[in-house]
């Protein structure tokens, strides 16, 4: 282990490979920037909450926690499916790749459906973004995240179509890796957004 430098990693089959980022380096600039931007938004939300904790708590109580939790399970499964696609691609198992990507697409669509149901539920209760500060944040944060989901699902669909034509292989996997990395970002953002909006109980 001491002969391996920081720039290298020992893989599961004990080969030494150089450390690398999946996809192109530039996509990690975008992922990093998006993460920082969302972190700023989370801080901004908490600051708004500091100013009207009672309103935020009362409004939080109206959110559908079960649906939110299910959304998390859906996105985690979606990420898993896409991760499997990349693993299959790395091992040259190109025949398996389309089905794993399709899993990602279908779970992405499920998330979108679930969110739509949730929004319509709110609208039916007469709740709008302008109703109060909490709801403005709720619709804005989940809305921007939803746009990320829509964009990501479109990219996954494109990948699926191309993968069915065997466009990707172990040596041609830069584009799938970029999209997969983006998709995992979408997943991890929800992992924070969900407790931030739905689960965070006031004292």
């Amino acid at each position: 282990m001491s002969t391996i430098s920081d720039a290298e990693v020992i893989t599961a089959d004990e080969r030494v490979t150089p450390r690398r980022l999946p996809g192109v380096d530039g996509v990690w600039v975008a992922i990093g920037a998006d993460s920082v931007i969302f972190a700023i938004l989370f801080g901004s939300f908490m600051q708004a909450r500091l100013h009207s904790p009672a309103v935020f708590e009362a409004s939080r109580d109206t959110l559908n926690m079960n649906l939110g939790g299910v959304d998390t399970l859906i996105l985690l499964t979606s990420s898993w499916s896409v991760a499997l696609a990349i693993q299959a691609l790395k091992r040259g198992l190109v025949d398996r790749v389309p089905r794993y990507l399709l899993g990602g697409v279908l779970t992405g669509l499920m998330f979108m459906t679930s969110k739509s149901v949730e929004y319509f539920e709110k609208f039916a209760q007469g709740i709008r973004p302008a109703t109060n500060d909490f709801y403005m944040w709720y619709f804005t944060l989940t809305g921007i995240h939803l746009l990320h989901v829509v964009f990501g699902t479109s990219l996954l669909t494109y990948l699926w179509v191309r993968a069915r034509r065997r466009a990707y292989s172990s040596s041609r996997r830069v584009v799938p890796e970029c999209v997969a990395s983006y998709w995992h970002l979408v997943d991890l953002l929800w992992i924070v957004i969900f407790p931030l909006l739905y689960l965070q109980r006031a004292v």
Partner: protein, 91 residues
Amino acid sequence: MSVLRERVTVVWLGLMALTCVTTWGLSKDLFSPAVAVVGIFAIAAVKVSYVMLDFMELRDAPIPVRVAFQAWPVIVAVMILGFWFATSSLA
């Protein structure tokens, strides 16, 4: 490639379980708000970490990048909890 034995599958199962714990466990009134909130965001940070390391493959990434990304869940969780406690002390 047996799907069940892939590392990503094991990680996925763990993440699903942790989600159930926070959504349907810690959020219940059994726990005091402070315990619940700290637990929920600590678990969220752990989940984000695993997504980064094993789904995003940052485990094998150049160390500076890995460190930068892994700092994110920690900073975000600390920031949120900091605000939460500040808000609670006003109540």
